[in-house]
């Protein structure tokens, strides 16, 4: 199965990246090349093999579920393209 323009349009939508209509064809071709390359993986017998979740056998550390920082509103908002009255500001979300 290959990636057609429709699939490319859907992927761009899912990825939240605007792709102009004339560019979709090229995108579909490039995605197709990459996906065909990935298809080599179908040659491998993976019966009974667990998908890797952690590359090192080390147990992840746990800590008490408590607040360790906070009260840094100014710092958090400092890099926002638009911040007003202590909040991130965005265009209208609900019609």
């Amino acid at each position: 199965m290959s990636i057609d323009i429709e699939t490319a349009r859907r992927v761009a939508k899912l990825a939240c990246i605007r792709v102009e209509e004339p560019d979709l064809q090229k995108l579909a071709e490039q995605l197709n090349d990459i996906v065909s390359f990935m298809k080599q993986l179908n040659e491998v017998d993976v019966t009974g093999i667990e998908p890797m979740t952690s590359v090192t056998p080390i147990q992840l550390k746990r800590r008490a579920d408590v607040v360790t920082d906070g009260s840094v509103q100014t710092q958090i908002l400092k890099n926002a393209p638009d911040a007003r009255e202590g909040f991130f500001a965005v265009p209208k979300v609900v019609e």
């Binding site: 605007r18 792709v19 995605l31 090349d33 491998v44 590359v55 991130f88 265009p91």
Partner: protein, 492 residues
């Protein structure tokens, strides 16, 4: 010789003896940097910070008992968040972003008294093998054999160029699929990617979290040992950081590898491998044998599948990690048209802010994670990853101490020469290095000799997990045996 050409070890000893001040050492680097804009290595210079840090280092050195890196001028890859300073991952989407915090790695370096000269060029979000996807423009290899300008490799291309051109004594790099080792090989320097979990990822802009590791890029193996020790260690802020004692890596450089077993994996002898690479590889093996190591043929049967597995897993993780760049909390936000809502804001912001290669990888990742394809691609790739790691586990279980391979299939190529080929061609640069990231192992590139064109070529040594000391010792033996001392002729 001007002090900027020194190794970290030489400078450390001279600083401790009072033969040079950290301020003078720093000045020699700042002068070299200002004369090297053509290399495109430093993209944000921080001379005022550097001189403040150098003065503080001099005061500390006067008191005595200063750490190894006290007063050592370093370059920092743009991927590391540095408080109050541009930290853009070479992307337009992070233009103007100045973190309110300091990465763990730079915090450790500064606590050790290191001097930061500035931020270094790289591929956008560390996605690339030639430093050509950077929003700052290309970094250029100081090695030049004709009228062409060559790539320093990528993604840590600025770091490699800066170290090779003696603009700094060492630089931080990061390596997700070869981004420390490939540029190190292309510029004739040393670069080590440590075991996954050795160095904290906190404050390093994420690309593919299960593969990313930071490491040092230096002029020789001893410097790599000194620098790596200063970057390493447990960090509660990174849940994948290992709570293990950091050994004295420099003390591990005994130069004695008698009785060690070095594996030569037959699957790395790729079809169409050049006779030059083959000869280089054999020469490296001979040198290790002469030093008393036993050279044995080994098999890593799933090697061929590492690259396709990597190009499923890395984009999948990237698509998730880079979802945070939405024009709300930091960085670029697109100018909106009348009637645009929040969806248009996201889509326009990301289309404007990300370059073509980053967009492509996000979309590949989105595709392999999307409903209906998750099992066919992503889960299958993770299973293949298990098999790739198992190959290495079996080799080490059979007594292998280190594995010797080429670092790259070729020496540095010309900037722009890969522009017309399809993305897969560029991905082939990582063919010998990605396995190491997939298996979480430490890997180091050591410069070996110049090829027929007069460009540096490196060999890669792969070590057992958490055995960076032993790995560095193998590299040290190889380095001493090869005696690579060539430097690029200054043209910039």
């Amino acid at each position: 010789m001007s002090a900027n050409t020194w190794t970290i070890a030489t400078a450390r000893d001279a600083l401790r003896k009072g033969e040079i001040s950290a301020v003078d050492l720093t000045m020699s680097c700042l002068t070299a940097i200002d004369a090297a804009d053509e290399l495109g290595a430093f993209v944000h210079k921080t001379p005022d910070i550097a001189l403040d840090q150098a003065r503080a280092a001099d005061a500390r050195l006067k008191v005595g008992a200063a750490p190894d890196l006290c007063g050592i001028p370093l370059g920092i890859k743009d991927l590391f968040c540095t408080k109050g300073l541009p930290s853009q991952a070479a992307s337009n989407i992070l233009r103007g972003f100045k973190p309110e915090y300091e990465s763990t790695v730079t915090t450790k370096l500064f606590e050790a008294g290191a001097v930061m000269l500035g931020k270094l060029n790289m591929d956008e979000f560390a996605m690339g093998s030639s430093n050509e996807t950077s929003c700052y423009g290309n970094a250029v290899n100081p090695w030049k054999v004709d009228e062409r300008k060559l790539t320093p490799g990528g993604s840590s291309g600025g770091s490699a160029a800066a170290v090779a051109a003696d603009l700094c004594l060492g630089a931080t790099g990061t390596d997700t699929g070869g981004s420390i080792r490939q540029p190190a090989a292309f510029t004739g320097i040393v670069g080590i990617k440590p075991t996954y979990g050795r160095v904290s990822r906190w404050g390093v802009v994420a690309f593919a979290s299960s593969l990313d590791q930071a490491g040092p890029m230096t002029k020789d193996v001893r410097d790599a040992a000194i620098f790596l020790a200063a970057m390493s260690g447990h960090d509660p802020k990174d849940s994948t950081s290992a709570d293990l004692t950091v050994p004295d890596f420099e003390a591990a450089l005994t130069g004695d590898i008698r009785g060690k077993k070095v594996g030569i994996p037959k699957e790395y002898r790729m079809d169409g491998m050049s006779a030059e690479i083959e000869a280089l590889w054999n020469k490296g093996a001979d040198m290790l044998r002469d030093a008393g190591a036993e050279i044995i043929d080994i098999s890593l049967p799933h090697t061929k599948y590492a690259l396709p597995a990597y190009y499923v897993i890395a984009p999948a993780e990237a698509s998730s990690n880079l979802a945070r760049y939405d024009g709300v909390r930091y960085g670029h936000r697109a100018a909106l048209s009348v009637g645009d809502g929040i969806t248009e804001m996201y889509e326009k912001t990301r289309a404007e802010g990300f370059g073509p290669e980053v967009q492509r990888r996000i979309m590949v990742g989105t595709y392999v994670l999307s409903a209906g394809f998750y099992d066919a691609y992503y889960n299958r790739a993770r299973k293949v990853r298990t098999l790739i790691k198992r190959d290495f586990d079996l080799a080490f279980k059979a007594g292998v101490d280190a594995i010797l391979t080429p670092t790259t299939p070729n020496s540095a190529f010309g900037l722009g020469e890969m522009a017309s080929v399809d993305p897969i061609e560029m991905y082939l640069n990582d063919v010998f290095t990605v396995t190491v990231n997939l298996a979480g192992l430490p890997g180091i590139s050591v410069p070996i000799s110049l090829d027929a064109k007069g460009l540096p070529m490196g060999l890669q040594l792969i070590g057992r997990p958490w055995e960076e000391g032993d790995l560095l010792n193998h590299a040290y033996v190889l380095e001493r045996a090869m005696g690579f001392v060539a430097k690029p002729e200054k043209w910039w």
